[in-house]
Subunit: 410 residues, 2 copies
């Protein structure tokens, strides 16, 4: 029986994690939940999973939650109510909760950083879904991981694929200790990319791309922001940076391959030139379950892959002119220090501006590039967490300001 | 430094193994060689690898080999000549040679059985290329493996692919001990098949298939017999039986998938529905090297896989009417006991008769089916090695007799 904490329990990763916990009641017990503002769903989750502690980011909502839980208790007196805590300290307490074996970090954005670090400092293993943890805060997180010996388990499908392929290789034997260091036996990582909403569009048509066009993903059903990231291929760029930290591999040895069917979730080339791949239907539950069950696997009744039915898998080189975000990400990753934090924050802000119809689709990479260029003079090669958060704020502000001034140049 | 013995050193597996030993002189040392009749090549190998012992199947050739080696010694006095031994006992002695860590079994056919068993009894790890070891002699070999604790390492590309995919799964932890038993965490094996020479031929045209047609393989360069086995898909049928023994998996959970590009060398579906695949160019050196370096991997300069260049991988269901040999193999495997030995021997003899233009291509499955049918009355469910060899002889004889009597029925 593994005890798990779910940070961001009402979000997409959180709800899928709890679905899995419900599907495997003999394997997983939920001991801690943290959530934002969705109290009705949170109360349902508390009823079903009876965690020991619940933390709310917004402390002011605690009385309301308390009231709702009292009503539940009145109806079902056998339920043991959780300890309720709030605010940043509350999140950190829940993230490092003593009885938890594994913490699922489903909080989106910089808000997830501090609780994730608390979990690492407490030596908890981590199912990592909060991408800022490594992309923006890699320079702070990696040394903490080394100190605490926490095992990072990637919860997204691409990095999970790589992680699965690397089990049983010399990499796996040293991984817990060598996070961020050069990986034995691993020669190249190939991240597959569906190509996103504009895969079939000629480059010159992208100028006409609307929000509706950009938020229709061909394979995966995801939030709007991440669907736009798929359309710009920034999602792959960010995954490249994450892969660099997770698997201790140079940027020169991480490649992106367009694979429209999204069946091969990623590949590794080993030193002897053998290539291993992980395949499956596009279903986020699989990588999440693997985080939870690792190093074992559980029996699922989920849809089985049938390649004979699919018939064909195809692969091609991504068009770097059509997708400039990829190169921006490689460049920020290579620069390292605070640059990936700027890239990530500028991208989030630019996508938000696009979703509000304030900029064109093609302005997204321009705004990111401009923020990264301006940050060069202020680059901090070994930032603290506070400095990373401050740079993140600066980049968001810089993008907003440029949009407001209508100062996007070609 | 791993000490290896190569049984069948002048054959295809043997020469490729020695090429690898030469490429990695700091990792492998050749301590024993056995060969058939190719003395010039054997002498070259002795000069290059200076093994401790050399065994010849045909004892009468020893004086000639001795003479040739004396000439070498006269020219290069620094060479230490090997001990020379001959006959069946000589092969067994070389196969169980004390200083060897790993034995590569490249002897083709039933002649390879006894030396392979000697290696197993001596507790040596085995790079298995002799398919009779498991297909015909599974019932004898499996208990010996359990007793001795030898590790079987598959040297053909399909089983190596599966073996590579299973490293790092619960299967791998128990494999050394549980050979032949049900495998934890492994739900299905998918063996890929190129489809062989007649992949694009309509079923009704096969009646016209000539020896030349059947011996032109689209992807792999192999011997004539195995190329015909690819054309009938009997090679896949035999691999199904081998996979059953190697990975302890029911026949119901082994599938054949037609994959014309031969890039995915096979796949495993794990219990959680995740699928792992191993990919590479069709090159026998890779699985042989993995046997030698396992559980590690060595750095090679071999051609790297580039899926972007290949563009497309395709998959389809094999046509059981066009390829009846597959079903014959599944059926013999399920019957078990001496039946797979009959299937294998009848196939070898039928292919030999086809290669001599004595029968049609479509007679091959008919002859095998007929031998298997006739053997049903004499099935031995737990045969000794002698009984297996005797059944093998019977099946070859039965096929020859049927051909000579021109008694092949539809």
């Amino acid at each position: 029986m593994k005890a798990i904490s779910v940070l961001g329990s009402t979000g997409s990763i959180g709800t899928q994690t709890l679905d899995i916990a419900e599907e495997f009641p003999n394997h997983f017990k939920v001991v801690a939940l943290t959530a934002g503002r969705n109290l009705p769903l949170l109360v349902e989750q508390v009823q079903k999973h009876t965690p020991e502690v619940v933390a709310l980011a917004d402390e002011s909502l605690i009385p309301e939650l308390e009231e709702r839980l009292k009503t539940i208790k009145a109806k079902s007196p056998e339920i043991t109510l959780p300890v309720l805590i709030g605010g940043p300290d509350g999140l950190n307490t829940a993230a490092s909760w003593d009885t938890a074996d594994l913490v699922v970090t489903g909080i989106v954005g910089c808000a997830g950083l501090l609780p994730t670090l608390s979990a690492i400092k407490a030596g908890k293993d981590l199912a990592l879904a909060n991408k800022e943890t490594l992309i923006a805060a890699g320079p702070v997180v990696i040394p903490e991981l080394k100190r605490s010996g926490s095992q990072l388990l990637p919860a997204d499908s691409e990095h999970s694929a790589i992680f699965q392929c690397l089990q049983g290789t010399p990499w796996a034997e040293t991984a817990r200790l060598s996070t961020g260091e050069k990986t034995p036996g691993l020669r190249r990582i190939q991240l597959t990319a569906s190509g996103g909403a504009f895969r079939e569009w000629p480059r010159e048509d992208l100028i006409k791309a609307t929000v509706k066009d950009a938020t229709s993903h061909p394979n995966w059903s995801m939030g709007k922001k991440i669907t736009v990231d798929s359309a710009t291929l920034m999602n792959k760029g960010l995954e490249v940076i994450e892969a660099h930290y997770l698997f201790g591999i140079d940027f020169d040895h991480i490649e992106i391959v367009i694979h429209p069917q999204s069946i091969i979730h990623s590949m590794v080339e080993l030193s002897d030139s053998s290539v291993l791949a992980q395949l499956g239907w596009p279903d986020m539950r699989l990588p999440i379950l693997y985080c939870l069950s690792w190093p074992n696997r559980l029996e699922t009744p989920w849809k089985r892959l049938n390649l004979k039915e699919i018939g064909q898998l195809s692969f091609s080189e991504p068009d770097t002119k059509k997708y400039p975000c990829m190169e921006l990400a490689y460049s920020a990753g290579r620069t390292s220090g605070t640059m990936p934090a700027v890239l990530n924050a500028a991208n989030e802000e630019a996508v938000a501006q696009f979703l509000e119809n304030k900029i064109h689709f093609l302005d997204i990479p321009k705004l990111i590039d401009s923020a990264c260029e301006r940050h060069k003079a202020d680059l901090n090669t070994s930032p603290t967490l506070d400095e990373i958060v401050s740079v993140d704020n600066w980049a968001r502000h810089a993008v907003r300001e440029q949009v407001n001034k209508q100062a996007i140049t070609n």
